[in-house]
């Protein structure tokens, strides 16, 4: 049973009051002379291969494969080339520290936007890199951010790209995704065929297809609209919801495709 009681009888000899704990401490002290548990930062660093395994440092026992450091969530790395400007990182940020800013490379009608991260606000929760459908925003093991100016804490896409190019180990953890993903559905009577969704879709998975113009019955007035409707290719869709937010008639919505 887990009844706990006083383990040892009391010893009233005051020398032993001190001597017994001192013996335990002295044993540890002798061990730590040869294998100190501390790491003298910044002269030694935790990500140094020598400290791959802290237990080895503490106990002196070999420890096998230890990749403690590789999964660390630190500063982000952004691959601008594969970013599709879907906005999901900015949506998923609980601290609202990600702003989508225009970067050169897009055509003037559809500017390319990449995340700019304010590390003064960032809490390193990793929701943005979990949300990234293309895997272009990942987290690296870089953690030193101190700077004399507050404005230096704002990392532009170019600066994040420099982190990407520095080839730091990337956090390999990817989120387990739910299997039955919701799809974006259309409410056809509301659609006016304005092309806004297809124009702003980052993956260009929306095609505007013709719909037959119905015959007007006598006395009935047909709605004034373009006779086209969006068709969404579910396999290409990253579920960013951009089309839903740009739709002027709110005719797109989340649902499950039967």
């Amino acid at each position: 049973m887990a009844e706990v009681s006083e383990p040892e009888p009391r010893n009233e000899n005051p020398v032993l009051w001190v001597a017994r704990p001192m013996a335990t401490a002295a044993r540890q002290f002798a061990k730590s002379l040869f294998r100190p548990s501390t790491i003298v930062y910044p002269y030694e660093r935790l990500e140094d291969p020598r400290f791959r395994d802290r237990l080895e440092v503490a106990s002196g026992k070999p420890f096998g494969v230890g990749h403690v450091w590789d999964n660390y969530r630190g500063v982000h790395a952004l691959n601008i080339a594969t970013c599709i400007s879907c906005n999901l990182c900015a949506f998923s940020c609980p601290d609202i520290c990600i702003e989508m800013v225009t970067v050169p490379g897009g055509d003037p009608k559809h500017p390319k936007k990449c995340p700019e991260i304010d590390y003064g606000k960032c809490s390193y929760c990793g929701f943005c890199s979990d949300a990234c459908p293309e895997g272009c925003l990942t987290m690296t093991t870089r953690y030193e951010l101190s700077t004399p100016k507050r404005s230096d804490m704002v990392y532009s896409p170019q600066k994040l790209y420099d982190v990407f190019r520095s080839k730091l180990p990337m956090n390999p953890i990817r989120l387990a995704r739910p299997e039955n993903e919701d799809a974006i559905l259309l409410d056809p009577p509301l659609c006016i065929g304005c092309n806004a969704c297809a124009r702003d879709c980052p993956t260009e998975c929306i095609t505007m297809l013709d719909v037959p113009k119905p015959e007007a019955k006598p006395g009935e007035k047909l709605p004034k609209r373009i006779w086209k409707e969006p068709v969404i290719n579910d396999s290409d869709c990253v579920r960013c919801g951009t089309c839903i937010s740009v739709c002027p008639k709110e005719c797109l919505f989340w649902g499950t495709r039967k």
Partner: protein, 381 residues
């Protein structure tokens, strides 16, 4: 002698965090105490009403900064009940793994702080050193050392990296003998006993009357542990004992926490064996779009919710390292929780300070309050 009030805190070595203990003394004897909380109030319950269900998890890590994963578990259990989601079994085992490792880490943190309160510096370093190994384990699969953001509504964020279970077993092998070493350092010396025995006595009926839970209650002789009494997650399939002591004093709380850490190691070995042999999904299949990680602004969300997700309320209570924590989540059919309410065990434990401090000496306050294991982050929320 003339009586006087003295303030211990809010910036005092005895107070772990920002809170104030006002003490009325006559010479050395404590006549009255008045704990004042609220210096660390951040309005977490109110902020939660403005966030997605998953985004609240980032706040849970900051609620109690030494037991973040326990609070994540608490919130997740309540919100899953409110949203009618059943997590896969492997995710539940992973959560138990988190919670028990967190219990050891939290108790080691308590041990380090407590022994420093009674004037021992050497065990402090041992406690912090061994806690760091558990933080390394956390870092290897959650990605952070303190603010984990690991659990998700409907499961957990990711599975364990390869080789983790062997690594964890080695840490457990290392930790087991360390607890005996701690006992030799503290209980082996009569100085510790002279400092802690028959101090801060809070009998079982007083504990019940004031809502005091956790190791303080168990040290008073009541075998009350939610993991046994009302098993949540997969605790009903695990074999462990509930630690208990009869002395109801500071030494009793020390003994109970040490025994709890040993029992946690016993639970963790079972959990690691199970995880080795039962691969599977770690996130539920039936998740609404806005609960998966890539959530986006939901157009016409009311339409979606009316179809798929009925309203509900969720209540959960877990055995946190400090005591019984409770959460209440109301889902009124939006993408944010309508109301979130937490019950902090430490708030009740500290509020009962008048019961276990009056009559002792001023020099007894640090050991007594140290044995309560105050985490002000969760007291004020």
């Amino acid at each position: 002698m003339s009586e006087m009030w003295i303030n211990m805190g809010p910036q005092h070595p005895m107070t772990h965090g920002l809170w104030n203990l006002r003490v009325r003394i006559d010479g050395e004897v404590i006549l009255d105490v008045d704990p004042e909380m609220g210096y660390l109030h951040r309005g977490i319950e109110k902020i939660s009403e403005d966030r997605h269900y998953n985004e609240v998890i980032t706040l849970m890590d900051r609620t109690c900064y030494v037991a973040g994963l326990s609070w994540e578990h608490l919130y997740i259990l309540a919100s899953e009940q409110a949203l009618h989601i059943q997590p896969p079994e492997r995710a539940q085992y992973l959560r138990v793994l988190c919670e028990e490792f967190q219990r050891i880490a939290s108790h080691l943190m308590w041990y380090a702080a407590f022994v420093q309160d009674i004037g021992l510096m050497t065990p402090f370093l041992y406690g912090m050193r061994d806690r760091d190994l558990i933080l390394d384990l956390f870092q290897s699969y959650t990605g952070a050392r303190m603010t984990y953001e690991y659990m998700r509504v409907g499961g957990v964020r990711n599975d364990l990296p390869p080789g983790f279970t062997d690594q964890a077993r080695k840490v457990l092998d290392w930790l087991g003998p360390r607890f005996d070493e701690y006992d030799r350092l503290c209980l082996g010396s009569d100085i510790f006993h002279k400092r802690c025995d028959n101090l801060g006595v809070l009998k079982a009926n007083d504990c019940v009357r004031h809502g005091v839970t956790g190791p303080m209650l168990r040290s008073a002789g009541l075998r009350r542990d939610l993991r046994k009494d009302r098993p949540y997650a997969v605790y009903d399939q695990l074999d462990f004992e509930v630690a208990r002591a009869d002395t109801a004093d500071v030494t009793g709380r020390y003994l109970v926490r040490m025994e709890e850490m040993r029992q946690s190691i016993r639970i963790l070995r079972q959990v690691l064996d199970w995880l080795d042999h039962h691969p599977g999904p770690v996130l539920a299949h039936e998740l609404p779009r806005w609960l998966g990680a890539p959530y986006a602004p939901v157009g016409r969300e009311g339409y979606l919710l009316k179809r798929h997700y009925p309203k509900g309320v969720g209540f959960s209570s877990i055995e946190e390292p400090h005591g019984e924590a409770q959460a209440y989540v109301v889902n009124e059919g939006g993408e944010h929780p309508y109301r979130v309410k937490f019950r902090s065990p430490v708030f009740a434990n500290v509020s009962a300070a008048r019961q276990y401090l009056i009559g002792y000496r001023v020099a007894d306050i640090p050991p007594i309050m140290g044995s309560v294991d105050v985490c002000v982050g969760e007291v004020d929320r």
